[in-house]
Amino acid sequence: MSENHDEHITPYKTYVIIWLILMALTVITVYVAREIDLGSINLFVAMIIASIKATIVALFFMHLKYEDSITWVFALYPLFLLSLLIGLTSIDVFNRIVP
């Protein structure tokens, strides 16, 4: 990179640590779902863990942590739209009248 380009270079060690954390979370999510079986909140727990994993991947592997705010906006806005799609469609599908 040229001089005026102050870019963050993540050290190799960080990636290995992140990988270990992700592995641990994978084990936890499998363990919780298969061994403990929390019933109805299974989905909730699994999604929380998946979101933690996804956040870590985005922040560190994808270097979102070091990106400018506009990248953040365009990374998060689709998630907002996705929740809108699911949320508003659910309001329709699960409130229909059965005559």
Partner: protein
Amino acid sequence: MATGTAATISEPSFLEYKSGFRSWFYTTDHKRIGILYLVSISIFFIIAGSIAIVMRAELFTPESNIVSPHTYNVLFTLHGSLMVFFFIVPGISASLGNFLIPLMIGARDVAFPKLNLGSYWLYLIGAAILLFALLEPADTGWTFYTPYSAKTNTNVILLTLGIFVLGFSSILTGLNFIVTIHKMRAPGMTWHRLPLFIWALYSTAILQLLATPVVGITLLLLIAERTLGIGFFDPDKGGDPVLFQNFFWFYSHPAVYIMIIPAMGVISEILPVFSRKPIFGYKAIAYSSVAIAIISFFVWAHHLFVAGISETAAIIFSFLTFLVAVPTAIKVFNWLATLYKGSIQFHSAMLYALSFLFLFTVGGLTGLHVGALAADIHLHDTYFVVAHMHYVMIGGTVMGFFGALHFWYPKWFGKMLDDTLGKIAWFFVFIGFNVTFFPQFFLGVQGMPRRYATYLPEFESLMKLSTIGSWILAIGMIIMAYNLIKSLYSGEKAPDNPYNSLSLEWQTSSPPILENFKEIPVVTDWSYGYGKKG
């Protein structure tokens, strides 16, 4: 205003520097790609327009006498699909946007020129798939509602596949524009100095980027339903046909704004130039474009008030629908205020811009009828909706598009248009359009359903009037096409800046040189600084 641009440049223009097939279809020059789009969308506009003429001719009498009902259904499917996906969605954005964005922000090209060419090729591939689809055209309507689209024997797969490919063309164009506008503005071109056309295309690009993938996956699921037998939309397999409509309109309502916002941008450019006054309420117009881009994602189910969605959803969506009307109203008032105390020149481009204000107001206000829950129940799927939609799409987008063609023609081709002929064409287009579509409001209120190949005799007189209007409209279009083509050959040579406009694209030669500007300009003020201060 900008400095650092030479008024006369001896370099060959982008039209002249190279010729031959390869120099066009392999070009990465945004201006040439813009022209390729312009020619392509014009071809589809002519095809789809001719189809409309045939449909109106068929509707001249209540019985079916020119084409069979099945053919009629095929025709309105093609008319809708071609107009929406092949003409109006890529319309202003891909043709004028490509040509103008780098020129207006003072860049040499878009951020990803090769990707830009790739987008155009995708457009061509989509068009080629469509040609195959025409061998056995679909009869589903452009909305492809399931279960009919999953059951009909006609070729739905090819048509939807073509649209899927076009979707990616649209996505990549939007992506390209967002990056270009973010990263490639000339020095001094701050966000609050950006021309409003650029703000409009920026908002459009966000919609293209983030709404299109949803229709992509939806059409893909429809194709999978027909080929693999998956059943998300098939009631026999536990699916939900209304879910398709939800997904479809999650794209297709924002798509309405993909179609209209660029035209709003055009109007914001034309009005100040021919009024010689600064645009009124710059920030209000700019931010309302972005606001529309955001809110338009929240309103899709207002197309489904009688489709069997839940009442709760209908109420929420009706409320949100009225929210999106606010920024639109703000824009109209600001445009109107721009005219106040101006020095108004009736150039043919200005006539289109003024008729945009008039017709779009009709289109927008009738949108309130169909947004109000109780009224929509009566008006939904009638000619009222057809008329409303055409007032927005033709009265809005197409008027904006024609205005843009007449406005930027000297810049594109270096030739002046015949302004008198332009005004004559405008007159026929304006009258013809109103005669065609205004009666349809009454037809709709009286209960004439849309997509009817035959109809009850009580609707005959208004239907006849509408058909006659379509002929007047066609005459206007033919005159305009003649003018556009004739002026290419016999038009007077255009000066660099025929209208004394202040925005950047007029500060370079007409037509521009390959690299747009000899030196990248330095911007010191916004481009609406007309009139005397104090």
